[in-house]
């Protein structure tokens, strides 16, 4: 991992503080470590912020859902791309958190109650991941068997939740609803009665977007920190990392729990978005979506996971009809075979330097040797 980092202040010596912030955010474990990257990032952010003013409420709602899914994609990226655990079960934590939020918020439909539901939901996702992770990692289960256990857990939850239809499956006021699902989950509200932040279509969009950007940046910091290096070491070679004295099991468990919390966050935001939870989130088709997003986007890249989730869901959503599934399947095949590392790393490592070379060879007057790339 000998890529150079632009640790320290940029060449023109501006804002030592800015440079310090950037040094936290940048590193070998993420794509985009240059001023141009952040400039582009800012532009994209501004465009996304302006979007609701250019379009109608239906579109805004639609894109909000893609943002919600991005958390789920990020959760798999952390767990798989950075710690090497391929989990088909992120939707388990997504679903458990969503249902928890639903049950609590239906019973306590006040802003304080909903805020509590929000917190407990996310914690629920994390707790579920901790339990499953403990069971697997401390039991010595490895590699593909971990994947299969997560897959089987998803199926168990689906079978179980689908039959919670009767009245006995009611917690307080909230009926789990079985296959029909739990409707009338309230919108998200944060705070207490009188001083609460409630959301409508557009403000929810901004809330989720802000949360997404914040989470992305926070994850960048994590992944580029010393702990991030341990994660990557575990991914690359568990035994060697163990021999260096790191507690591999605890690392995997911690990362898996963090992934569970992220997936749980996604689940809670989802429940509040659609005001509805159903066992459909535990189906195999939905469980495999995060794997698809992250595989295509580049599992070792947070930005890849994020961008691919939004891009693929937008694409899938816009395609209608019979051919949609065929095209998604073909897309998946082509990408995993041709670009097994995913799009964003490929763009970063191959496409952009190639374009740069072309551009530079065009400007024939540049007799001077290209300056040393510091990113």
């Amino acid at each position: 991992m000998a890529t150079e980092t632009s640790a320290g202040s940029p060449a023109d010596g501006s804002a030592g503080r800015l440079g310090r912030v950037r040094s936290y955010l940048e590193g070998p474990n993420t794509v985009g470590n240059s001023r141009q990257f952040w400039a582009g990032f800012l532009v994209a952010l501004i465009a996304l912020a302006a979007y609701p003013m250019l379009t109608n409420s239906y579109q805004v709602g639609r894109v909000t859902l893609f943002f919600v899914y991005a958390f789920l994609g990020l959760s798999l990226s952390i767990v798989w791309g950075y710690a090497g655990v391929l989990s088909f079960g992120q939707v388990v934590f997504f679903g458990v958190a969503g249902y928890t939020f639903g049950v609590i918020s239906v019973n306590f439909a006040t802003p304080a109650g909903i805020t509590g539901a929000f917190v407990v939901g996310v914690l629920g996702g994390a707790a579920m991941a901790a339990v499953l992770g403990y069971f697997m990692f401390y039991g010595g289960v490895r590699d593909v068997y971990v994947t299969i256990i997560t897959l089987v857990s998803t199926l168990v939850l689906h079978t179980f939740m689908a039959q919670t239809a009767g009245d006995e499956w009611t917690i307080g006021e909230a009926a789990l609803g079985g296959f029909n699902g739990m409707p009338t989950i309230p919108n998200l509200a944060l705070g207490v009665e009188g001083a609460a932040l409630t959301f409508d279509n557009v403000t929810y969009y901004y809330f989720v977007l802000a949360l997404l950007v914040g989470m992305y940046l926070a994850l960048r910091v994590l992944v580029n920190s010393d702990y991030g290096r341990v994660m990557v070491a575990v991914r690359e070679d568990e035994d060697r990392t163990q021999m260096f004295g790191y507690n591999v099991k605890r690392t995997k468990l911690t990362v898996f729990t963090l992934g569970g919390a992220l997936a749980g966050l996604s689940g809670v935001l989802y429940a509040a978005w659609g005001n509805y939870m159903s066992p459909g989130v535990f189906e195999l088709t939905f469980a495999s979506l995060p794997v698809i997003w992250v595989s295509v986007g580049g599992r070792k890249s947070l930005l890849g996971a994020l961008a691919a989730t939004i891009g693929i869901e937008y694409f899938r959503n816009s395609l209608g009809g019979e051919l949609a599934f065929v095209i998604v399947g073909a897309l998946l095949l082509v990408f995993i075979l041709g670009l097994p590392g995913g799009i964003v790393p490929w763009v970063d490592e191959k496409l952009v330097p190639w374009l740069q070379r072309i551009i530079q060879s065009r400007s024939t007057g540049a007799a001077a040797a290209p300056t040393e790339e510091t990113d």
Binding site: L86, T147, F325, V326, L333
Partner: protein, 312 residues
């Protein structure tokens, strides 16, 4: 007495289902390190080909089943050459731009899962588009056995015999043929095998074709007893995966033992409490087995045997 017979037949039925569902997957996974998430769709292909051969083309059922297997083997060959090993795209790209574009999927567990998942999406929807939402079904042959107020489908019970034949046949294949020897060498240590002149590439192609053929056989055998819809493969997937994982690295022995254990549990619990609990019991057993025997049953027995040998 009658209930004892019930239990026996249900066990045989369950055993057959699990073994036949898992066989093709186990071989491909064990030898090539590829997880074929399109396994269910290969089963569907065999079932559809058999049904079409019998109903559209009027072939008698055994011949139709052979046709089903043949179609699946051919399709498996094409998939292996195009997607799993990447031979075909690479051959084309070598001509066009002078280098390979695809790495083979061998031993790339995660990537093979993703790639074959994409394949399964294409297969299911492709079949739905070309052949519609369902096919007319072949009737189940062979009638039933009646005993003391109960009766069981003779065909389904005889599938247990077929499952055993498949297991024995696979064993014989590994033990007594050159292919088998090459395959075993490759499982044990691929690089050494290659260094000693084993054509691992040909082994892989043959393996994938055999695995596909077995999946196609399962489809052909179950075609007369289940509904012909494009998504029928998914009802085999859970049992297949669970059996492969619980069975462990040894293909034949692992699948047999897994089939026996899981089949017994499923049959007993279903018999006493109903199919819902039978299903849950199956899944819970799998999880517990994986937790305590993370290498599967045969992984455990192999380690045990090694340890005993050292001690002796």
């Amino acid at each position: 007495m009658a209930n004892g017979l019930n239990l026996l037949f249900q066990f045989l039925d369950s055993f057959a289902f699990i073994v036949l569902a898992a066989a093709g997957l186990a071989i491909i996974f064990g030898i090539m390190g590829v997880i074929n998430l399109a396994h269910g769709e290969f089963i569907m292909l065999g079932a559809y080909a058999t049904t079409l051969a019998n109903i559209q083309f009027g072939l008698p059922l055994p011949a139709a089943m052979l046709a089903g297997v043949a179609v699946t083997v051919a399709f498996g060959f094409v998939v292996e050459r195009t997607i799993v090993s990447g031979w075909l795209p690479n051959a084309i790209s070598q001509r066009a731009i002078g280098r390979n574009v695809i790495e083979p999927l061998y031993d790339r567990l995660a990537d093979s899962m993703v790639a074959t998942w994409g394949l399964s999406l294409i297969m299911v929807q492709g079949v739905r588009i070309t052949l519609g939402n369902s096919l007319d079904q072949i009737g189940t042959p062979l009638g039933n056995i009646a005993y003391g107020g109960f009766s069981y489908s003779l065909y389904r019970v005889s599938l247990a015999g077929v499952a055993l034949a498949v297991l024995l046949g696979t064993y014989a294949l590994f033990r007594y043929t050159t292919y088998g020897m090459r395959a075993r060498a490759t499982i044990q240590d691929e690089d050494t095998a290659r260094a000693m002149g084993v054509d691992t590439e040909r082994t892989y192609v043959t393996t994938f074709a055999i695995g596909s053929g077995l999946a196609g056989l399962t489809g052909a055998l179950y075609a007369p007893t289940i509904t012909m819809v494009p998504g029928l493969g998914s009802s085999f997937l859970v049992e297949a995966f669970v059996a492969v994982v619980v069975g462990g690295p040894s293909v034949v022995l692992g699948t047999t033992l897994a089939g026996g254990l899981l089949g017994a549990i499923n049959a007993t619990v279903s018999n006493l409490f109903g199919t819902f609990f039978g299903r849950i019991a199956l899944l819970v057993t799998a999880i517990v087995m994986i937790r305590f025997l993370p290498d599967g049953i045969t992984g455990f027995t192999e380690r045990l045997r090694d340890r005993l040998q050292e001690g002796a």
